[in-house]
């Protein structure tokens, strides 16, 4: 009797071993696709795209530059030429969130750094001639809002 059962037992043991080997801890279910999170994702993507254009707009229109510096005279009698410029090579940081005060509206902010560059010289011309060095940085935080999730982020008119 035992000998007749042996193959069955061996088979069952093998089956058990094989099942254990194949069993993989199930991966956790993917995070629920919260509709509001999807809206924020979309708004963020659009704001990030708009941010690149926005910085280009600012660079195009800003008056301050190497050819248009502010000149001041220090207590030591030397002249200092300075201008501001948007820092290159660094990605703008974009944030989006739903407005609480006006349901349905959304707020976007674009943060980037502006550097102040200076050059000192014995004359205004010498100061303007450079070379300029960055002496400080400031964070710019530009706030936009749209009245609905389908509205485009856009420059002021």
């Amino acid at each position: 009797m035992t000998r007749n059962l042996l193959p069955l037992l061996l088979f069952l043991l093998l089956l058990l071993a094989a099942t254990s080997a194949l069993a993989v801890e199930p991966a956790p279910a993917p995070a629920a696709q919260d509709p509001e999170q999807l809206v924020l994702d979309d708004l963020h993507t659009r704001l990030a795209s708009f941010a690149d254009q926005w910085l280009a707009t600012l660079r195009r229109s800003q008056l301050s530059g190497p050819g248009n510096c502010e000149i001041t005279r220090g207590a030591d009698g030397r002249y200092v030429a300075r201008y501001q410029h948007i820092q290159d090579g660094v990605a703008p940081v974009c944030l989006v969130r739903a407005s609480e005060l006006k349901p349905g509206a959304y707020i976007g902010s674009i943060q980037y750094k502006v550097e102040m560059l200076e050059c000192a010289g014995d004359t205004p011309q010498a100061a303007k001639a450079g070379p300029f060095e960055a002496v400080s940085r400031m964070t710019m935080n530009e706030i936009f809002s749209i009245q609905s999730k389908d509205a485009p982020w856009c420059a002021p008119k």
């Binding site: 090579g89 006006k102 710019m140 706030i143 749209i146």
Partner: protein, 341 residues
């Protein structure tokens, strides 16, 4: 006779010393900006996938970036480490920076692994890094190399906030982004926005030598400009009507954002400044911008900001920042700003 021969030699040695000293004085001094840094690499399945339309995996790009970065990091007295998350692991513990040792550690990062089952627990990874940060002293820069995907475990933005709440200005979480999904990009930006110390750079941009040089300068050593803890908030959607200064319902979301920022920084005293374009008389523009700045101040005070914290000023067209010969420039000029004092 022997004494006469020694004199030119002594003079030459003295001259050499003077030259060396001058060179040392003239060379800009590199002051470490941090006492410690941790390279923190996302080792998840999504990082093993190709970045956007390239044929290069994100993990390979990250490893390459770290290798190049390590070459640029000057040998200054900080400690360096290399950790991974998803899964969390120590590749090199925090120890006095040695370019060769860190380079060898970076070289051990696998760039060809099975993506199956390797989900991204970024939040858990940040939480696991807490004791490592806690065991260090002084300032610490954590440089995350990640695509921002976080599909398991705790919320990475919440964990980053917890770390900042615990370590304050001692800590800076820089993120090198390989994000190629909307969610990944948003998570990365939310982490970046938590501190002004952050240097925000994308992984693809770091392949540019000049960008890499600037990143290393900004993160590791202090030869560059001081990062002033100053912020200028510019409202771009306060669309006042012609000759109008009243707050309208459409303006509420923008004002709400400024209110949030100011409530988060109760130490800040501010000036609200109105600006106009150059159309119209100086006097008219000054008065209009004054009224508009006052409207914003009144709204902020009504919503809980102490009046003692705020001043206002209308500058009209006296501080033009943009080219007013174009409509684009004039539109940029018409704005209200909040400047920290």
């Amino acid at each position: 006779m022997k004494r006469l021969h020694r004199l030119p030699l002594a003079l030459a040695a003295l001259a050499a010393l003077v030259l060396l000293a001058s060179a040392a004085l003239a060379a800009p001094k590199m002051t470490p900006k941090v006492d410690n840094f941790i390279l923190f690499v996302d080792y998840s399945g999504s990082m093993a996938m190709d970045y956007k339309n390239t044929n290069t995996s994100k993990i390979l790009m990250a490893q390459s970036a770290m290798t190049s970065m390590n070459q640029k990091i000057p040998a200054l007295p900080y400690k360096g480490a290399l950790y991974t998350f998803a899964p969390f692991g120590k590749v090199q513990e925090l120890k006095p920076y040695d370019k060769g040792a860190l380079g060898a550690a970076i070289a051990t990062i696998k760039t060809n692994y099975d993506i199956f089952g390797r989900q991204t627990a970024m939040g858990d990874g940040l939480a696991s890094l807490d004791p490592v940060i806690g065991a260090s002293s002084g300032k610490i820069a954590v440089i995350l190399f990640t695509d921002g995907e976080s599909n398991l475990g705790s919320d990475p933005v919440a964990e980053a906030k917890t770390l900042y709440a615990k370590y304050g200005n001692r800590l800076c979480l820089h993120v090198v982004s390989y994000a190629d999904t909307a969610r990944g990009k948003r998570i990365i930006d939310e982490i970046r926005s938590l501190s002004k110390c952050v240097v925000a750079v994308d992984g693809a941009a770091l392949q540019n030598a000049a960008v890499l040089d600037q990143f290393v300068k900004d993160v590791f050593y202090d030869m560059g400009p001081a990062d002033a803890d100053k912020e200028l908030i510019v409202f771009r959607s306060l669309n006042f009507g012609f000759d109008k200064s009243a707050i309208t319902p459409e303006m509420l979301p923008s004002l709400e954002q400024a209110l949030l920022i100011l409530k988060q920084r109760p130490d800040l005293s501010i000036v609200v400044e109105g600006h106009t374009d150059s159309v119209g008389s100086d006097d008219y523009n000054k008065r209009l911008s004054d009224r508009r700045a006052k409207s914003v101040v009144d709204w902020l005070v009504q919503h809980g900001i102490a009046a003692s914290r705020i001043e206002y000023a209308g500058h009209g067209e006296s501080q033009l920042k943009y080219d007013n010969t174009t409509e684009e420039g004039r539109a940029l000029s018409r704005r209200v700003e909040i400047r920290s004092k």
